[in-house]
């Protein structure tokens, strides 16, 4: 038997084979490429075409970027240095760096002020953005920040922003005292208290303002560059969210006057192009004001952009409110909560969470729309490029480098906003998907 066995089976393995590496085609980069890039004929062709496109792009742009000239006084000097070779003239960025960031009229010895305000912006935004991880007390700095930033950027008497802050504090104190008895008493009492404080404070500030304030005052007309885009973007986004919430709630209100005011405002503002509103702010208002009077242009523009963005955000939030099941409203009612409590504790936290992508969408769009102010002769980043820099004898003819730089700055900010919003969405998920 064993003999037969020996003859019928020629080889018996007595040990286990050592583990061999997978075949070359089934491991590492090759496998990944086979699966993802060359899985079938059509994919392979597309991959090759894409590679070709990437190659041509690199061949066209890389020499341009790597050969770039970073130090030259004018475009002609750039061309002399390049001597017919391909290369970007990035010297315009180094030459006009401060103008691109701060505009051409902001006094150069004061550049540290907006820079500091920009850095503090992160400190002020952090407690709001990462509210779960930072102590709530930091919010006090967030509340002070707008006034501090105003004082840093515009300068002037220190008391002016202090008085503005005191107005809000007075309003808040009155609100706190009366809101328990009646919402309306608290609301209108707060407005009255703030107005009285501002009026009294305005008189006092005018009376005691020293001739030379600690920070020299810089008029609005001198603001420019990316700083202006940041100011408009940050102020308008942060103002338009509360206004948008109020408008969205007002639109759902059962009180007809409030409801119709909100509906008309939203529909009117959404039906008009932003650029029209900006022209109204700049040109048409000048006809209504008496000759010689100039009502700060930045404030006019902020009002218009905020109105525009609030209308859009109101519609986004209305979508969020509509998406909540009716049961949530009924649950709030059955708990005996009144309207502000129900909204604050139950409805809005859920509705706002749903609305985050929409709100971020509006915020990013709004931030980019701030470049439209260049058509009403304000020198934001794009206005600086299209106006003074391209019109200088030195740099006329440099397009790609300048607009590429502007695109880069905007991309960094917008991509940052978008990444934050995705993180926030993940952070706030409570469902079990």
């Amino acid at each position: 038997m064993s003999d037969m066995h020996q003859h019928s089976i020629r080889f018996v393995r007595e040990t286990m084979l050592p583990q061999a590496a997978p075949p070359v085609a089934e491991r590492g980069i090759v496998k990944w490429m086979r699966e993802n890039l060359f899985s079938n004929l059509a994919n392979s062709i597309l991959t090759l075409l894409a590679l070709l496109a990437v190659y041509y792009l690199a061949v066209e742009t890389l020499p341009w970027m790597l050969n770039g000239i970073w130090d030259a006084p004018s475009i002609r000097a750039c061309r002399e240095i390049l001597d017919g070779n391909v290369g970007g003239c990035f010297a315009v960025l180094t030459d006009r760096w401060n103008q691109l960031l701060f505009g051409f009229k902001y006094p150069s010895e004061e550049y540290w002020r907006p820079s500091l305000a920009f850095l503090l912006l992160f400190a002020a935004a952090a407690p709001v953005m990462f509210f779960k991880y930072l102590p709530g007390k930091l919010l006090i700095f967030t509340a002070i920040y707008p006034f501090l930033a105003y004082w840093l950027i515009w300068g002037g008497p220190f008391l002016a922003p202090v008085v503005a802050l005191l107005g809000f504090v007075a309003g808040y104190v009155v609100w706190n005292r009366f809101v328990t008895s009646s919402f309306a008493a608290g609301f209108f009492g707060a407005i009255a208290a703030a107005a009285v404080t501002w009026w009294l404070g305005g008189v006092i500030v005018d009376a005691v303002a020293p001739e030379n304030s600690l920070l020299p005052s810089v008029p609005s007309r001198d603001m420019g560059g990316f700083m202006l885009n940041m100011i408009l973007g940050v102020v308008c986004v942060s103002l338009s969210i509360p206004f948008g919430i109020a408008l969205a709630l007002g639109r759902q209100s059962s009180m007809p006057i409030i409801k119709w005011i909100c509906v008309i405002f939203i529909e009117f503002v959404r039906g008009v192009p932003l650029i029209t509103l900006l022209f109204v702010a700049n040109v048409v208002l000048a006809y209504f004001l008496p000759p010689g009077a100039t009502f700060d242009l930045i404030i006019r523009v902020i009002i218009m952009i905020t109105a525009f963005a609030s209308a859009y955000i109101a519609e986004v939030i209305r979508g969020g409110l509509a998406a909540l099941p009716r049961g949530q409203y009924e649950a709030a009612d059955s708990l005996g909560l009144d309207y502000p409590q129900a909204m604050r504790l139950i409805i809005l936290p859920q509705a706002l969470k749903i609305s985050i992508p929409g709100i971020v969408n509006v915020a990013v769009g709004l931030f980019k729309d701030t470049t439209l102010v260049s058509v009403i002769s304000m020198f934001d980043l794009v206005g600086m490029i299209r106006g003074p820099i391209l019109a200088s004898t030195d740099w006329n003819g440099v397009y790609w480098e300048l607009f590429g730089f502007a695109a880069l700055l905007f991309f960094v900010v917008c991509y940052g906003i978008s990444q934050y919003s995705q993180w926030l969405e993940r952070e706030l998920t409570t469902d079990h998907r």
């Binding site: 103008q99 002016a160 004001l289 009077a293 009403i376 006329n396």
Partner: protein, 338 residues
């Protein structure tokens, strides 16, 4: 804060409304600054440099007026205006004068109620073609494609010119000058047409300017000059005669180099009257007798301003052409200072 600013603005507005009737020259003197409207940027004519100082051919007019009225060529608040906002800014009183390469036309003068106070640059619409096209006259452009900015008078002028000469063309509409440069260089059109000064400035930015020629035909009249509001002739006179003083200074040989010497007194009675050593021209104008000396010192006479900002020595390289003195065959002809 915004509220208090707003209330303050309203108060100031009320006060200003009462004072609006006062003459512009008194306002300027009281303010200590001249509010001068300029473009947001036009090569050679007005643009801030790397230090934020405004420079250019139009800017020089503002500085001369400020020097004449206020004694300080830097006492100017430059208010940048776009083509769309410039007239409102002037009409609403936001600016005292507008020096923004604005063409003097009937309707702007009469219907918009402005007063043009002279002409500081005689411009006209021209054509630029690549040298390789082998064209030496616009009349040889039969069948050519022409890049043209839409919605401007240049579009209408072009149609008129080609119809008058009974030749055909194909327009390539473009939106801005920057786009035009790219399109033209990319060969999307055979010829580019806009104001001759703009063509020269555009050509100066090309890598090889010598490969492009500006054809000799000028097909429209574009007299550019500073303007003020209707109804304040005294102020209009100040701006008009400051410009005339710059032009007359060149004619009379007064330059920023020799003006101190000449202001001490010369044999020429007209120079003496202009520079205030004889007569009372300054007092008549509502300024002091040295007004023209200061205006000329601010940036030199007309010829010096031209040469420094847009002349043949600059990258823009404009020839004087029509903007030469009448004695040299140009159109500049300042009325006598008498």
């Amino acid at each position: 804060m915004n509220k208090s600013v707003f209330l303050g603005a309203v108060t100031v507005a009320g006060l200003a409304a009462g004072a609006a009737a006062a003459a512009t020259i008194d306002d300027v003197k009281a303010r200590g600054k001249l509010n001068c409207g300029v473009t947001t940027g036009l090569v050679g004519f007005a643009a801030p440099d790397a230090n934020g100082e405004w420079n250019g051919f139009d800017v020089a007019v503002c500085r001369a007026v400020a020097a004449a009225v206020l004694g300080d060529p830097t006492a100017v608040e430059f208010v940048p205006t776009t083509g769309k906002t410039r007239f409102t800014a002037l009409a609403s009183g936001e600016i005292d004068m507008l020096a923004r390469n604005t063409t003097w036309t009937f309707s702007r003068d009469v219907d918009l109620k402005f007063e043009f106070t002279g002409i500081n640059y005689y411009d006209g619409q021209g054509f630029m073609v690549p040298k390789g096209l082998g064209v030496s006259s616009a009349k040889e452009l039969d069948g050519a494609t022409v890049c043209i900015q839409t919605g401007t008078t240049t579009e209408l002028n072009l149609a008129d010119f080609f119809r008058k000469n009974n030749i055909s063309y194909e327009p390539v509409p473009i939106e801005t000058n920057a786009e035009a440069q790219q399109q033209y260089l990319a060969g999307a059109c055979d010829a580019y047409t806009t104001d001759a000064s703009g063509l020269a400035a555009t050509r100066a930015t090309f890598e090889t300017p010598a490969d492009h020629v500006i054809l000799p035909e000028i097909i429209s009249k574009e007299p550019l000059g500073p303007l003020v509001r209707h109804g304040d002739s005294e102020w209009g006179d100040v701006v008009r005669w400051t410009l005339n003083a710059l032009i007359a200074a060149e004619e009379l040989g007064v330059t920023s180099a020799n003006i101190d010497e000449m202001a001490a007194g010369t044999n020429s009675p007209e120079v003496n009257r202009l520079l205030g050593t004889e007569g009372t021209l300054g007092e008549m104008l509502g300024v002091d007798k040295d007004w023209a000396v200061r205006a000329i010192k601010a940036g030199g006479n007309y010829g010096e301003i031209f040469a420094r900002n847009i002349g043949e020595e600059t990258p823009i390289g404009l020839a004087r052409g029509l903007n030469a003195q009448w004695t040299d065959g140009g159109l500049l002809y300042a009325p006598p200072f008498r």
